[in-house]
């Protein structure tokens, strides 16, 4: 309980604060804009010996485990940028601009926010990190709804947004922004990579039944999978939308067998994917022979953390991933990352950790190459940037839409996992050329990047 005196003091301080703020605003208004610009050329220009990054991840809610892994990777990236630890993928990264002394000589510090996987909470925490903590950039996200919301906030605020986990076509499609950059692949690429692999494994004469999460990501995933499987000669029997967080999917799964379909495509992620897949397997779908063929299930977007939730149910099931730690077998960069992450935390990193780490390094590197934290300069340094040595082979940040283009991994549930970390195995790598599309492709049409905005 506040005593009366406490309240008085607080009121007094607030009153003084208001007066001060008022005076400052008055002065600001009175001053010609040119001086104001000189004082702060762009939002949160770092003045001291440190610069603040803002890590906006789900620390509570359904994706908290993904968020926790992202945060581990962000901390690791900051260590490496500041010259601590073994340097991880900085040793394999094609750009040698970062010297291990921070960014442009400034030590990197960070603040974290909790998105709760809700758009409004994510915007509030991003805003707070930008306005109160002076974050020069924001990175994070674990759902496309959140990423799109935070991306547009960053555009307005004049800071860079390095998107982490977001797979909807819209993030770099109709909702793309000049200040937003995505390393993660997207629903279209998943479809393009999976289509031919599925046709080869299961044949061209297949009938697919889609269950789709009822929101932006689900729609783009469904449309992409439908397009690419039909291109291979498959027929789409039905597409059914399921409410987000339905829990029990039995009433959606039960009619599948009777529909004449012989493949079930689950456009679900997170808890929905775990539940729908587990239940589909329980219904015995995979033991059935339909139309003279073995019934199959496909999960277009996989995540190791989700695979752990589904347990045995993932065995033999195809999906796609942005990165998998088992790439370390023949990739030195992945090996370096798995080593520094594994030694620090005791288990291999997830794809969420990988994208978080890579996006932080890419931002820091772009600033170093641009020689400035000015968002317009950083955007210029990232647009069209080609790099290698960050775990995905050669990659390009396409200037037209700020989407990274690279090979896409097709993975399959491991039949004989040796631990909870190798539930998925890399089945094929689909080369970049096969998943690339024109910026005005129908799945991505509409919207515009807009202009660079230095903020205040």
């Amino acid at each position: 309980m506040d005593t009366r005196e406490d309240i008085m003091t607080k009121l007094h301080l607030t009153r003084r604060g208001v007066i001060k703020a008022g005076a400052a605003t008055g002065a600001g208004l009175a001053m010609p804009t040119i001086f104001v610009k000189g004082a702060a050329a762009y939002t949160n220009e770092p003045k001291g010996s440190e610069v603040v990054f803002g890590f906006n991840v789900p620390q509570t809610g359904a994706y908290a485990d993904e968020g926790a892994d992202e945060l581990r990777a962000y901390k690791l990236a900051v260590e490496h940028i500041n010259g601590e630890g073994d340097g991880g993928m900085l040793n394999t990264f094609s750009s040698k601009a970062l010297k291990g002394n921070g960014v442009l000589g400034k030590k990197v510090t960070y603040v974290t926010g909790d998105t709760q996987t809700k758009s409004d909470a994510a915007r509030a925490s991003a805003r707070s990190m930008i306005e109160k903590d002076g974050a020069i950039m924001i990175t994070g996200g674990s759902s496309s709804g959140v990423a799109i919301a935070v991306q547009s906030l960053c555009q307005e605020a004049g800071v860079i947004f390095m998107a982490a986990l977001t797979h909807s076509n819209d993030t770099t499609g109709k909702d793309k922004k000049k200040h937003g950059f995505r390393h993660f692949f997207n629903a279209y690429m998943s479809g393009a990579a999976l289509g031919p692999v599925l046709a080869e494994a299961y044949g061209k004469d297949r009938r697919a039944y889609h269950l789709t999460a009822d929101y932006t990501w689900g729609y783009t995933q469904e449309a992409s999978m439908k397009y690419f499987t039909e291109k291979e000669g498959w027929e789409t029997v039905a597409t059914v939308r399921t409410p987000l967080g339905a829990g029990d999917f039995s009433s959606y799964i039960a009619p599948v067998l009777n529909s004449g379909a012989d493949v079930l495509i689950l456009n679900h992620y997170g808890r929905d994917m775990v539940n729908s897949l587990t239940q589909a397997v329980q219904f015995g779908l995979r033991d059935k022979i339909v139309n003279g063929k073995q019934f199959e299930i496909v999960v277009p977007l996989y995540s190791r953390l989700m695979a752990q939730g589904a347990g045995d149910a993932v065995k033999g099931i195809f999906g796609s991933q942005n990165w998998n730690w088992q790439l370390q077998k023949d990739d030195a960069a992945s090996r370096a990352f798995v080593k520094s992450f594994g030694e620090k935390y005791g288990f291999p990193p997830s794809q969420a950790a990988h994208v978080a780490y890579v996006q932080t390094i890419l931002y820091a590197d772009a600033v170093e190459r641009a020689g400035s934290f000015h968002p317009c300069a950083v955007i210029e340094a990232l647009e069209g940037y080609k790099f290698d040595g960050l775990g995905n082979g050669p990659v390009e940040y396409r200037a037209a839409d700020h989407q990274c283009f690279k090979d896409v991994l097709v993975v399959r549930g491991n039949e004989n996992p040796t631990s909870q970390y190798d539930l998925l195995e890399v089945y094929a790598k689909t080369p970049r050329a096969k998943v690339e599309y024109a910026p005005d492709n129908e799945f991505f049409a509409g919207g515009a990047l807009g202009e660079c905005n230095p903020g205040k």
Partner: protein
């Protein structure tokens, strides 16, 4: 036709879970007059008893196998479970395989203790307060329990498989003369339905045919008179709270193989269970069971593609629509009595 039979089967199963949770809610409301928003959390705790029992059974020790390597290239640490080590691989595997039924037995004392602790420690202090206060405090408790579970088990679902012999599904259609695969239903869900029927029957028999049950029913009807007769009705009501917790808990344990347990699953069922209680009639046990199955079946039928195409979104609102209609026609719910929650 086969599609509708299929959805009715499905609904029976969903309805079982609703009915079991609503039954506990109604017991608590009927005896103690408390609207218990933490009841979904008890269901969730039950599911995590299943997780915990499985974890205990799979506790293991590590031996280093120098011939194999782990992900960092160090010698692989091979895990062997204690139960396999003690009882031999076959018996050990059997115990792990049957972890869910074993968890049901473990859940009974655990949930009874949780129920008693909740009632004696917190809820009892709110008997004389308004329903709004009771809702707030039990809702708060639900959030606390949820966050504790998340702290220890993480936010992602944890798989709990059913025993091997119950995997796969049963072809009902063939029995009824439909072609193969027309109506299939997983064995475990049939087990769940049978289990729910057994528990519901057990609770009714307990209340109907035992002296204890008779006293409790008398207490529900007229608490004051029963107290004047020199019966310690409070103690009996505490035991009923524990019983309701056990019902919710074992419902959760058995549900774990159907829906991988996660910290939020209690909340998912809580709201629907309240609708079930209200539709069934506040304080009516048969009403809760009837409404549970009714709404479960309706929800399943509404998620048929033909219906969704006709009325988009019907699968998500059907329960509430039906609830509104029923409450308009029968304001006290299907089997509600006069005077309950009306003072």
């Amino acid at each position: 036709m086969d599609a509708i039979i299929l959805q009715i089967l499905n609904g029976l199963d969903k309805g079982s879970a609703y009915a079991l949770i609503a039954l506990g809610l109604t017991i608590i409301f009927g005896t103690l007059g408390v609207v218990n928003f933490a009841h979904g959390a008890l269901f969730m705790l039950g599911a995590f008893v299943a997780v915990t029992v499985r974890r205990i059974l799979t506790l293991s020790f590590e031996t280093i196998d120098p011939t194999r390597k782990d992900f960092l290239g160090n010698p692989l640490k091979v895990k062997t479970t204690y139960v396999e080590h003690w009882f031999g691989p076959d018996a050990g595997q059997w115990l792990i395989d049957w972890s869910v039924p074993i968890a049901v037995i473990a859940a009974i004392p655990v949930m009874a203790l949780v129920g008693l602790a909740m009632e004696r420690g917190l809820v009892r202090h709110f008997y004389k307060r308004s329903h709004a206060d009771q809702i707030l405090v039990t809702f708060g408790l639900a959030i606390v329990i949820q966050e504790i579970i998340k702290y220890f088990f993480g936010a992602n679902p944890i798989p709990v498989p059913a025993p091997e012999i119950f995997r796969g599904s049963f072809d009902f259609g063939v029995l009824l003369g439909f072609p193969e695969n027309a109506i299939i239903y997983p064995y475990w869900r049939l087990v769940y339905f049978a289990f729910a029927a057994l528990v519901i029957g057990g609770v009714f028999a307990f209340l109907q045919f035992t002296t204890f049950g008779m006293v409790v029913r008398a207490g529900m009807a007229d608490r004051e008179t029963v107290t004047i007769l020199g019966i310690d009705i409070d103690r009996r009501f505490s035991i009923m709270f524990a019983l309701a917790a056990i019902v919710a808990g074992i419902a959760g344990v058995m549900y774990a193989p159907i829906n991988s347990p996660n910290y939020h699953m209690g909340m998912d069922y809580l709201v629907l269970s309240f609708v079930v209680v209200v539709v069934g009639g506040m304080g009516s046990l048969p009403g809760a069971v009837l409404a549970g199955f009714l709404l479960g079946i309706l929800e399943s039928i509404a998620s048929m593609k033909a219906l969704i195409d006709l009325v988009p979104g019907i699968n998500q609102v059907i329960i509430y629509l039906v609830a509104i209609v029923i409450l308009l026609i029968r304001p006290r719910g299907l089997m509600g009595r006069k005077g309950v929650m009306e003072d």
